[in-house]
C-alpha cells in the first residue's frame, strides 16, 4: 500500500515517524538514526508501499534494482516493471519480448546501460528499450530456469538450474560451468556475485564456489560439518551448503541460506555464521542477500534484517500489521519500536539499498524504505 502521495501527507508522516523513534518498550532513549552512534547501518524510519493498485503488474516482486541512471526496475511475477520519473509504473511483458513474465533477477551492465533479466524461461537483455531473449534452444544458455544474473566486465553470468552460463559479450560465446568441469558438486545454481577479481557462484546444495577467471581455477567453500540441521563447527565455513544467494562488497562475501547466514572476510580468510536461535538474525530462511559496503541486507520470510555482523536492525510486521523495528547493538539492550508504517509484507524476496534509501521487494508489494536524515529527521524520498 502506498501510504504517502502528497507533500502534506508526507510531512505528517515524517513527524509521526520521528515520534515513532521514541522507544515504546525496552531500551534507551537514543534515537535509531543513520550512523548517529557510529553504526554503519542506516535506519529506515518509514516505508512507502506500492502494490497492484499503484500500477504494479503483480503483488509478487522478486527482484529490484536501482540502475546507475537512477531508474528503478522491478522483476515481478508478471513482467519487468520500470518506475517512471512521474512515479508511475510501466510494465514490459512477453509481448514486448520478455522471455517469461516471472523476472527473478536483474543486473545492469553499467558500461553499456543494458539490463540483463533472469527469468523462469530464459535470459533477457533489455537494451535501448528493446528486449531480446536468450534461451537454452537459441543460444548457449545452459538452462531456461535462470535464478540469478550478474554482469562482470565483458561477461554476463547466468545462474541456472543446469549450471552457470558465462556469455562473453565481446566474442558472443558461451561457457557452461557445472559439476562436470568445476568445483560444483551439483549444477543447481542460484546466484552470482562479483568479488575482487573473482566470481562467486551460489550453488543450491554446494555452498559457494569461487572462480578465478585469470587462472581458470575453482575453489569450493562448503559447510565443514555437512549438516544443515545442526552446526557442529560454527564460524569455520558456510553455515550450510544450501545457498540461496551470495553478495559481495568491500571485501566481505555474504552467503544467504534457508538455514542461516554466513560471512567470509576475504582479507582475513575468516568465516562467521549466524542462526536465528543464537543471534539477532530475524529468520534462518533467507531468500537473498544484498551487500552495500560492509552491511548485508537480508530478505527473509519474516521481514528484512540488516547487519554488519556486529549491529543488527530488523524490520518485521506484527500480527496487527504494524511495522516493528528491533535494533541490536553489542552491550546494549535491544530496542524495539513500532513504526507508523510497515513493510508491504513480511515475506521479503529481494532488497536493493544504498546510503540514501532501500527498496524492498516482497511477496505482496514493494516497499520504499526511507532513511533517517543526518539529524535524525527522515530523508526526503526522491524518485527520479
Amino acid at each position: 500500500m502506498k501510504t504517502q502521495n502528497s507533500p502534506s501527507k508526507r510531512a505528517i508522516a515524517a513527524a509521526l515517524s520521528l515520534l515513532a523513534l521514541l522507544p515504546l518498550t525496552r531500551g534507551s532513549a537514543r534515537p535509531a538514526t543513520a550512523g548517529a552512534e557510529g553504526s554503519p547501518i542506516s535506519t529506515i524510519v518509514r516505508f512507502e508501499n506500492f502494490g497492484e493498485k499503484d500500477g504494479l503488474p503483480s503483488h509478487k516482486v522478486h527482484s529490484v534494482l536501482r540502475a546507475k541512471d537512477g531508474r528503478l526496475w522491478l522483476g515481478t511475477n508478471n513482467g519487468l516493471c520500470l518506475r517512471e520519473a512521474d512515479g508511475r509504473f510501466r510494465t514490459y511483458g512477453t509481448k514486448d519480448g520478455l522471455s517469461h513474465p516471472t523476472v527473478l533477477g536483474i543486473a545492469e551492465d553499467t558500461r553499456t546501460g543494458d539490463l540483463w533479466l533472469a527469468t523462469m524461461q530464459g535470459l533477457t537483455r533489455m537494451s535501448g528499450g528493446k528486449l531480446t531473449a536468450f534461451t537454452q534452444t537459441n543460444s548457449g544458455l545452459p538452462n531456461n530456469v535462470v535464478y540469478g544474473v550478474s554482469v562482470i566486465g565483458d561477461t554476463v553470468w547466468a545462474a541456472t538450474a543446469a549450471g552457470t552460463g558465462a556469455l562473453d559479450l565481446k566474442n558472443n560465446s558461451w561457457k557452461i560451468y557445472d559439476q562436470s568441469n568445476s568445483a560444483m558438486n551439483e549444477p543447481w545454481c542460484y546466484s552470482v556475485a562479483q568479488g575482487d577479481g573473482v566470481v562467486y557462484l551460489g550453488v543450491w546444495a554446494g555452498g559457494v564456489v569461487e572462480f578465478d577467471p585469470r587462472t581458470g581455477l575453482f575453489k569450493a567453500y562448503r559447510d565443514p560439518d555437512g549438516d544443515f540441521q545442526i552446526q557442529l563447527t560454527p564460524d569455520s565455513g558456510p553455515v550450510v551448503d544450501v545457498t540461496s544467494g551470495v553478495a559481495y562488497d568491500a571485501g566481505i562475501l555474504w552467503q544467504s541460506t534457508y538455514f542461516g547466514l554466513s560471512r567470509y572476510d576475504t582479507s582475513r580468510a575468516t568465516w562467521r555464521t549466524w542462526v536465528q536461535d543464537k543471534s539477532p538474525l530475524l529468520s534462518n530462511f533467507i531468500n537473498t542477500v544484498f551487500a552495500h559496503g560492509k552491511v548485508a541486507w537480508l530478505a527473509t520470510d519474516r521481514g528484512a534484517s540488516v547487519t554488519d555482523g556486529t549491529n543488527w536492525v530488523n524490520y518485521s510486521v506484527d500480527e496487527n500489521g504494524r511495522g516493528i523495528v528491533r535494533t541490536y547493538r553489542p552491550g546494549e539492550e535491544t530496542q524495539v519500536r513500532t513504526m507508523t508504517t510497515a513493510l508491504a509484507d513480511g515475506f521479503v524476496t529481494a532488497i536493493w539499498a544504498d546510503d540514501h534509501e532501500a527498496w524492498i521487494a516482497t511477496s505482496n508489494g514493494l516497499s520504499h524504505g526511507i532513511f533517517a536524515g543526518p539529524s535524525g529527521s527522515p530523508a526526503v524520498a526522491s524518485n527520479p
Binding site: 553499456t112 537483455r125 537494451s127 537459441n138 557452461i176
Partner: protein, 657 residues
C-alpha cells in the same frame, strides 16, 4: 589352332576386363555409398569426397588490387579530401581545388571509414579488414596510433562530449558498436547493435550517435523483418534507443540533419514474403529513406518513382543548413537530391496513415526529390565540404571521386585514383554484380540481396510450391567456388546456369545477362573469399579448448560411450572438409509442409558463423536451433548424446570454419 591361341587369351582378357570393370564399378559404387552414407547414390564424381585443396580455388589465389574509393572526409577548410582505399591499404590526401592526389599513406588493415577531428589535425580510420581503428597525423600523413575494435568496422564518427572526445565505431562483423576515447585511445564500451551495424552519424553537439544497421532480422521465418537505427550516447556509451524500421533493409548510410531533429538513413524496402512474381509490379524491392525523429518516431519515404528505381541506396549526407540531403544509389549510378524544406512541408501536412503508407507510394517522391545527378560506376560513399558547396561521390568501380558543385548540381571534375581496372575480369564481374541494369526497371542488383557477396539474412518466396508460405533462405556467395551444384535443390551445375536465362525469367524479369557479362559475373563470384567470422587477432591462431572439443565432436565417429555413429549421420560425411560440403543432396529431416522434396543441397560451412538464418528455409535463427529446435530423429547428424556443453563447443568450432 592359331585362332584358338588368340581367341582364348582374348576371351580371358575380355572376361577379366569385364569382371574388373563390373567389379570395379560395383566396388566403386559400394565405396561411394559406404563413404557418403547414401545407400541409393548413383555414380558421382570422386571429387565430391576427394576435394581439391582450397589453395587451388580462385578466391585463394593472389588477385589484383584496385584504387576503389571508400569512406571520405573533408578538411575543415574544405581544401583537402581524404579518401580511404580499402583494397589498397592506403589513405589518399587529395587537393580539392586542383582535383589532384597530393599524398598517399600506407594504412594497414583495409581503411574503410574516415572521420576528422574538429581541427582537422587527426584523421581517424576504421580499418575493416583487420578490425582496428588507426589515428593519422594529417600533417605527416602517418599512422600514430592504433587500437583493436570489433569485427569489420565499417565507419567511424568523431565528436566532442562533456566527457571528452569520443569515437563511435560500428563493427559490422561482430554486430556491436565500440565507443573510444581519443586521448588516450581506449575502447570504453562495446554495446550490442542490430545486425551488421554499418554506418554512424553523430549530432553536432555530440549528444547522440545514430547507427544504421544494414540487415533486417525476423522473429519467425514468415514474419515481417525489421532493421533498427541504434541510438547511443557517445558520452556514456549507453544505448538509449533502438528505433525499429519494419521491412527496412540494407541501410548503409545515415546522417543527422542539422536544425531539423531528423536522422535520415538509406534503405531498401524489402518484401521478401511476397512471391517474386511480383517483381514486375515493383512489389519485391524498392528503395527509400527512413526519417527518424528525436522522439523515435520513424517514417519511411520512397526514393523511387513509378517505373523508375534507384537501387542500392548507400551513402547519405545532409547539407549544413539542413535544406538538402544527397543519397548515392550504388546500383543505379545516381545521386538523388532531396529538398528537405519540401519534405518537411509534406511531413507537416500529412497525417499518420499517410506517413505510414508513404513508402508504398511511388508517386510521392516528386514532392521532395529535386534532382538526380548521374555518376560513374557504383557510387557508395558521399562527403560534403563543411560549407556544403562541394559534394564528393566515390565512384568505386571507376576508381574516381566525382566532385559536384552543389549550387548548380553540375560536376566540376573528378579526382582520378586509378584506371578502373578494365583489364581485370574480376573487376568487370563486380560491375555486373553491383549494377541493377540487368533487372526489371532496375529494381535491384545482385548486391541488393548479397551485400559484399554475402547473405542478407532473409528468406524469400521463390514461387515454389505453396506460394505465399514456402520460403527459401538466401545463401552466401562468399567462398562458393568449387561447391557446385548451386541452389537448394542442387539443380544448377554452374554459376552461369544459376544466373542464366531461367534466373532472368523468374527473378529478374528481363532478358538474361549477356553471356560475356555472365562469365564476368561468375568470375567475380568465384573470387569472393569466405566471410571472416573470427576477430582478426584470432586468425591463424590455435583453436581454444572449447573450439577443439567442438572440432572433435564434428569429426566424431562414435558417441561418448563408444557407440559407432553411422557414416551418413556424421557431420564430416556431408560437410566434408576442406569445402565442408560433399555437394550432394541429403535429407536432414527438415522437409516443410509445402516442400516437394526431402532432400536439399548440402551447404558449405566456410564462414557459417555469419550465415544466419540456417536450414533451407531459414527457420533456424541460430546455429543452436538447428539441433535444439529443428533436429528430428538424429537425422541432421547424431546429436542426441550431446550435452549442452558439447553443443556449445560444436557451435564455437563451427564459428571458426
Amino acid at each position: 589352332m592359331k585362332l584358338k591361341r588368340v581367341l582364348l587369351p582374348a576371351s580371358l582378357l575380355a572376361l577379366v576386363g569385364t569382371g574388373a570393370t563390373f567389379g570395379g564399378f560395383t566396388g566403386l559404387r559400394a565405396h561411394e555409398r559406404l563413404r557418403s552414407g547414401l545407400p541409393k547414390l548413383a555414380l558421382v564424381s570422386c571429387t565430391h569426397c576427394h576435394q581439391r585443396s582450397l589453395k587451388t580455388l580462385p578466391w585463394a589465389k593472389p588477385r589484383r588490387h584496385h584504387d576503389a574509393p571508400d569512406g571520405m572526409a573533408v578538411s575543415p577548410d574544405g581544401k583537402t579530401l581524404f579518401i580511404a582505399l580499402n583494397d589498397r591499404d592506403e589513405v589518399v590526401e587529395a587537393d580539392v581545388a586542383s582535383l589532384s592526389v597530393k599524398r598517399r599513406a600506407k594504412v594497414p588493415g583495409g581503411p574503410f571509414g574516415l572521420a576528422l577531428d574538429t581541427a582537422g589535425k587527426r584523421l581517424f580510420v576504421a580499418c575493416r579488414n583487420q578490425d582496428t581503428v588507426s589515428v593519422i597525423d594529417t600533417a605527416g600523413l602517418k599512422v600514430v596510433a592504433s587500437i583493436s575494435v570489433g569485427i569489420r568496422p565499417t565507419d567511424i564518427a568523431y565528436c566532442q562530449t562533456p566527457s571528452g572526445e569520443r569515437l563511435v565505431v560500428p563493427n559490422s562483423g561482430s554486430n556491436d558498436i565500440s565507443v573510444l576515447s581519443v586521448l588516450p585511445l581506449l575502447e570504453l564500451t562495446r554495446s550490442a547493435a542490430g545486425r551488421e551495424p554499418y554506418a554512424v552519424s553523430v549530432s553536432t553537439d555530440g549528444r547522440r550517435a545514430h547507427i544504421a544497421n544494414r540487415m533486417a532480422v525476423h522473429d519467425q521465418v514468415l514474419s515481417q523483418p525489421a532493421s533498427e537505427v541504434t541510438v547511443l550516447d557517445p558520452s556514456t556509451g549507453h544505448i538509449v534507443n533502438r528505433v525499429e524500421l519494419p521491412s527496412a533493409h540494407m541501410a548503409e548510410g545515415v546522417t543527422e540533419v542539422p536544425a531539423r531533429g531528423w536522422v535520415l538513413s538509406s534503405m531498401i524496402r524489402v518484401r521478401n514474403l511476397v512471391p517474386i512474381t511480383q517483381v514486375k509490379d515493383g512489389w519485391v524491392m524498392s528503395t527509400g529513406i527512413a526519417i527518424t525523429r528525436e522522439d523515435g518516431e520513424a517514417t519511411q519515404i520512397p526514393l523511387d518513382e513509378a517505373n523508375a528505381y534507384f537501387s542500392d541506396p548507400s551513402g547519405i549526407v545532409a547539407s549544413p543548413d539542413g535544406k538538402r540531403a544527397y543519397v548515392a544509389s550504388g546500383g543505379a549510378d545516381v545521386v538523388t537530391v532531396l529538398d528537405l524544406d519540401r519534405l518537411g512541408a509534406w511531413l507537416a501536412r500529412s497525417g499518420e496513415p499517410e506517413r505510414s503508407d508513404a513508402i508504398e507510394n511511388m508517386a510521392l517522391s516528386y514532392r521532395y526529390v529535386s534532382a538526380r545527378i548521374p555518376t560513374g560506376r557504383n557510387p557508395q560513399h558521399l562527403a560534403l565540404s563543411p560549407d556544403g558547396s562541394r559534394l564528393f561521390v566515390s565512384e568505386r568501380l571507376d576508381d574516381r571521386v566525382l566532385v559536384v558543385d552543389t549550387s548548380s548540381l553540375k560536376p566540376v571534375g573528378r579526382i582520378v585514383l586509378g584506371n578502373g581496372g578494365l583489364d581485370d575480369p574480376v573487376r568487370l564481374g563486380e560491375r555486373v554484380f553491383t549494377n541493377s541494369r540487368y533487372t526489371f526497371q532496375g529494381q535491384f542488383s545482385c548486391r541488393s540481396c548479397h551485400p559484399d557477396g554475402h547473405v542478407d539474412g532473409l528468406s524469400y518466396d521463390f514461387d515454389g510450391a505453396g506460394v505465399g508460405d514456402n520460403l527459401l533462405a538466401n545463401r552466401s556467395l562468399c567462398g562458393v567456388a568449387g561447391t557446385e551444384p548451386f541452389k537448394w535443390n542442387g539443380k544448377n551445375p554452374t554459376l552461369q546456369y544459376q544466373d542464366g536465362p531461367r534466373f532472368a525469367r523468374v527473378l529478374m524479369r528481363t532478358d538474361q545477362i549477356p553471356e560475356p557479362q555472365l562469365d564476368q559475373l561468375a568470375t567475380f563470384i568465384t573470387h569472393l573469399p569466405p566471410t571472416r567470422t573470427l576477430p582478426w587477432s584470432r586468425v591463424g591462431q590455435p583453436l581454444t579448448p572449447s573450439e577443439e572439443r567442438g572440432r572433435k565432436l564434428f569429426f566424431a565417429t562414435q558417441r561418448t560411450d563408444g557407440t559407432p555413429i553411422p557414416v551418413g549421420r556424421q557431420c564430416q560425411t556431408c560437410h566434408r572438409p576442406p569445402l565442408f560440403t560433399d555437394r550432394l543432396l541429403t535429407s536432414v529431416g527438415t522437409r516443410g509442409a509445402q516442400d516437394t522434396t526431402d532432400v536439399f543441397d548440402t551447404p558449405h560451412l566456410i564462414g557459417v558463423g555469419a550465415m544466419a538464418p540456417y536450414l533451407h528455409d531459414g527457420r533456424a535463427k541460430t546455429l543452436e536451433e538447428i539441433w535444439t529446435t529443428y533436429q528430428r530423429d538424429d537425422l541432421h547428424g547424431v546429436s542426441s548424446y550431446w550435452s549442452k556443453q558439447q553443443l556449445n563447443d560444436l557451435v564455437e568450432y563451427l564459428k571458426t570454419i
